[in-house]
């Protein structure tokens, strides 16, 4: 008997050496690829405390420093030194110095994340790799140390829910607005322990960058991961870039799902998640005029070439409002180079933006762009719980690059479609 499988089930079956798996069973898997960032130092601790001496399959491991760079204290600097020494000694496939970009972005653009792969990384936004049809799952740092030491770990096979998208977005509405709508509908743990697979006729209209935004914020509904089916868009991106052999995987037409959401994209409005929780989304038009002090166009969610182009398009021949700081952080150096070449970075700087090195920056809440008490940051990132940007007495709202740019001009929350 043939058992109909979802994309995630097929990938987990292969990675556990089985013909099929069923939701909720626990399987032992060997990941195809693993990566980490600054917090790898804790994985090194765990690895050494386990008594391990050599990493299993170092040729499938990469580290990319992103969370705290350039470093602002000796302790973190020493941790970075330790990581550099470890990757050299263990002969990891690659190491990316701080400033290369946010690890999730770098792994995608350098071809380390490939369709059909099981990817593990010690970060909660690992699901971003689902943009390329990989099953990309976040682990803790001890757990990554365990995978380095043994080459495997255990996973519970998650049920899959699907988000079926039809129709087309109207002008000025972005993938971010759709995913903020989904997060609002599901709630912050609405897809807890589950996979979200994005399906429907509209899927083929989304670029890899937009798919990345969807999969990235799947973490905000508690999902184990988010994933897009491998299609022509995936292939066009991966072809010539992939570091490993790959095989795209798609759900069987009769696969079983634990739930379904359908969305008509034509109905989606520009959205903003109000402070405190990612699921507090409302239409920007309903909250327009809310005061802001800082605008952050950055993070793994929305700081790619297309995002910066949208922001530059709005800020061209305009100025950032004098009461607002606009911080721009390209998701990677490669993004920065392209946006410099096409003139978008110059446009943003001319408008009054402050450009910061590629990395997590403000989003990581540890060393840059911290807010004062009572201040409000409008951000293209993915999280807005209290304290996320380093001060629990400040507020964060989440939006698309278009809304961020328009609001930076107006000095308050603004629907970009209303700028004249």
């Amino acid at each position: 008997m043939r058992l109909a499988q979802t994309t995630a089930e097929k990938i987990l079956a292969r990675a556990s050496g089985r013909d099929f798996v069923v939701p909720n069973e626990i399987v032992e898997v060997s990941p195809d690829f693993c990566y980490s960032h600054d917090y790898a130092v804790f994985a090194i601790d765990a690895f050494e405390q386990m008594g391990a001496t050599s990493v299993v399959r170092p040729e499938r491991n990469v580290i990319c420093l992103d969370h705290g760079f350039p470093v602002n204290n000796a302790r973190d600097a020493n941790n970075h030194v330790r990581i550099r020494e470890f990757v050299k000694k263990q002969e990891f496939l690659a190491f990316f110095e701080g400033g290369t970009g946010i690890a999730h972005q770098v792994m995608m653009e350098r071809g380390f994340v490939v369709p059909g792969a099981l990817v593990l990384a010690s970060d909660s936004h690992t699901p971003s790799g689902g943009a390329l049809g990989a099953l990309a799952i976040g682990t803790g740092e001890s757990e990554l140390g365990f995978v380095w030491a043994t080459g495997r770990t255990w996973l519970k096979v998650p049920p899959t829910i699907r988000v079926v998208m039809a129709g087309a977005l109207t002008r000025g509405v972005a993938a971010k607005d759709v995913v903020l709508t989904i997060v609002k509908q599901l709630g912050v743990l609405g897809a807890g322990y589950k996979i979200i697979e994005y399906q429907g006729d509209a899927v083929s209209s989304f670029s890899v960058s937009e798919r990345f935004t969807f999969c990235n914020m799947s973490a905000e509904v508690g999902a184990k991961s988010g994933i897009f089916p491998s299609d022509d868009v995936t292939e066009a991106f991966v072809n010539g870039r992939a570091q490993f052999p790959y095989m795209g995987v798609r759900s069987d037409p009769d696969a079983n799902y634990a739930g379904e959401i359908t969305l008509d994209l034509a109905q989606i409005e520009p959205m903003v998640a109000l402070p405190g929780r990612e699921d507090r989304g409302v239409a920007v038009s309903e909250a327009a005029g809310k005061k802001i002090n800082q605008v952050f166009i950055g993070s793994c969610t929305n700081a790619r070439v297309d995002d910066l182009a949208i922001a530059a398009g709005i800020l061209r021949n305009r100025r950032v409002h004098p009461d607002v700081r606009l911080l721009v952080v390209p998701a990677s150096r490669a993004v920065g180079i392209e946006s410099a070449r096409n003139g978008d970075l110059a446009t943003l700087l001319e408008a009054g933006a402050t450009l910061m090195p590629s990395g997590c920056a403000v989003c990581a809440g540890a060393h840059q762009g911290v807010l004062g008490d009572g201040e409000v940051c409008l951000s293209t990132s993915n999280r807005n719980m209290p304290g996320r940007m380093g001060n629990k007495n400040a507020e964060i709202m989440l939006c698309s690059p278009a809304t961020a740019a328009a609001s930076a001009v107006a000095g308050c929350l603004t629907d970009a479609r209303t700028l004249d």
Binding site: I26, A46, G138, S142, L189, G192, A366
Partner: protein, 171 residues
């Protein structure tokens, strides 16, 4: 030993407490004892006192959601926490907690049951049963692999034993 029950007094923590609130990112690199001083420190001071003096937390919906950093779990362990019940929990937080030797049991029923700070409960990891006075709540049974990790003390201890087994098998 595997399956041994966990008994002790509880501290109640509300719903939608993110992992960034359990321990903010800026404290991630502190030594354990100092982390314990900051655990849940963003909430009223009695919460931190509670979790450092009682071994079990009854936590509301989505406890630990958000960041996948492991430092919040390390901080709870450092504070002396042995088990967290309630939830449902965010998955990375759940894994990080058990990997640090702290049992976590999804048991939505105990949240809002009227249980209060200082009350004693007894947890059976294998069955997920939680006894509070004469009431029993039915939480999620703990899979064998998680029972083993928690019983080892942490994933590090479990990993040490697994590596030793692998070395024996190949020699």
């Amino acid at each position: 030993m595997m399956g041994e029950s966990i008994k002790g007094a509880i501290t109640v923590v509300g719903e939608f407490v993110s992992a960034d609130i359990v321990l903010p990112a800026r404290y991630s690199f502190l030594p354990p004892a100092e982390m314990a001083e900051h655990v849940l420190g963003e909430l009223p001071a009695e919460v931190n006192r509670g979790v450092r003096s009682r071994p079990i937390i009854v936590a509301g919906e989505a406890f630990g959601y958000g960041t996948g950093r492991e430092s919040p779990a390390r901080a709870l362990r450092a504070a002396g926490i042995k088990a967290i019940v309630g939830g449902p929990f965010a998955r990375m937080f759940f894994r990080n907690v058990v990997n640090n030797g702290v049992l976590a049991i999804d048991c939505a029923d105990i949240v809002g049951s009227g249980i209060a700070n200082g009350d004693e409960i007894e947890i059976n990891p294998a069955t997920g049963g939680i006894r509070w006075n004469d009431r029993v709540f039915h939480g999620m049974p703990t899979p064998a692999i998680i029972q083993k990790i928690v019983a080892s003390g942490s994933l590090i201890e479990y990993g040490r034993a697994a590596l030793a087994d692998m070395a024996r098998a190949s020699s």
